[in-house]
């Protein structure tokens, strides 16, 4: 399956949940939006030649992009980290007030999906090879 299906189910959950499940629906939606962005990014980076380890893949995707020294890739890595932070809040911090800004989460997701492929495609060959070296080195640093 593709990551965007998680985004679609998140939108569905936010549509009109029964009142008794509203908080659970919102927390689940926040979590699914992160996974939509994460899976999209992971799968795309694998087509670039990245390989990830199962127990560190979340960090490797976000931190790998941030290691690239290409501002736009760093920007996307930070957006994935932000979505990840919200995902943890949604799934684990169940005693805290929820208050998710879904317009923000959707904007973060849309930026990741729109920009990751686009920015990579517009890098010159030399810049792409340099970015790949930096990304791979950072990914390797998180292998246990």
């Amino acid at each position: 399956m593709r990551g965007n299906e998680f985004f679609e189910i998140a939108k569905h959950l936010l549509g009109n949940p029964p009142a008794r499940w509203q908080e659970a629906a919102e927390r689940t939606a926040a979590s699914r939006i992160y996974y939509a962005a994460f899976i999209y990014s992971r799968d795309l980076m694998e087509t670039w030649g990245c390989s990830f380890t199962e127990n560190a893949v979340h960090t490797q995707v976000a931190e790998g992009l941030k290691a690239s020294r290409e501002l736009e890739l760093v920007r996307i890595g930070k957006k994935i980290s932000e979505l990840h932070d919200e995902r943890k809040r949604a799934d684990y911090q169940t005693k805290a007030p929820e208050g998710f800004d879904f317009a923000r989460l959707e904007a973060l997701y849309e930026d990741v999906v729109r920009e990751l492929q686009n920015r990579w495609a517009h890098l010159g060959e030399h810049a792409r090879q340099a970015a790949m070296r930096e990304i791979r080195a950072r990914i390797a640093s998180y292998q246990s």
């Binding site: 960090t59 941030k66 290691a67 501002l71 760093v74 800004d101 923000r104 998180y142």
Partner: protein, 107 residues
């Protein structure tokens, strides 16, 4: 903290999360970089008063960041656009190694 004419930002001292983040910043020698991040970010918000809180962000897979949350009333796409602008400023002013230790969030 005075950041620019007419604007000010204060880092909340009280919360356990902020104290933990401060201790981490000190331990890692990130104090100067944090001051730079807060100054750049508060200047970019164009708000009269910006509330700043810090959190240590551990992803359990080996990455630790300092999350800097600026409360200035922005939401949705506007907040994301402001974060993009702040990152642009940080990119011009800081080394990537320092910059990547921080996650700046506008809310």
């Amino acid at each position: 903290m005075e950041t620019s004419a007419g604007s000010s930002a204060a880092v909340a001292n009280g919360s356990a999360a902020t104290q933990e983040a401060r201790a981490y910043v000190e331990q890692e020698g990130l104090g100067e970089a944090l001051q730079t991040v807060i100054a750049l970010a508060t200047r970019a918000t164009d708000c009269q008063d910006v509330g700043v809180s810090l959190m240590r962000y551990d992803d359990r897979q080996g990455a630790t960041l300092v999350k800097v949350a600026l409360r200035c009333g922005l939401r949705g796409r506007a907040a994301v656009a402001k974060e993009d602008e702040i990152l642009d400023r940080m990119w011009k002013a800081m080394e990537p190694e320092s910059l990547n230790r921080f996650l700046v969030v506008v809310e």
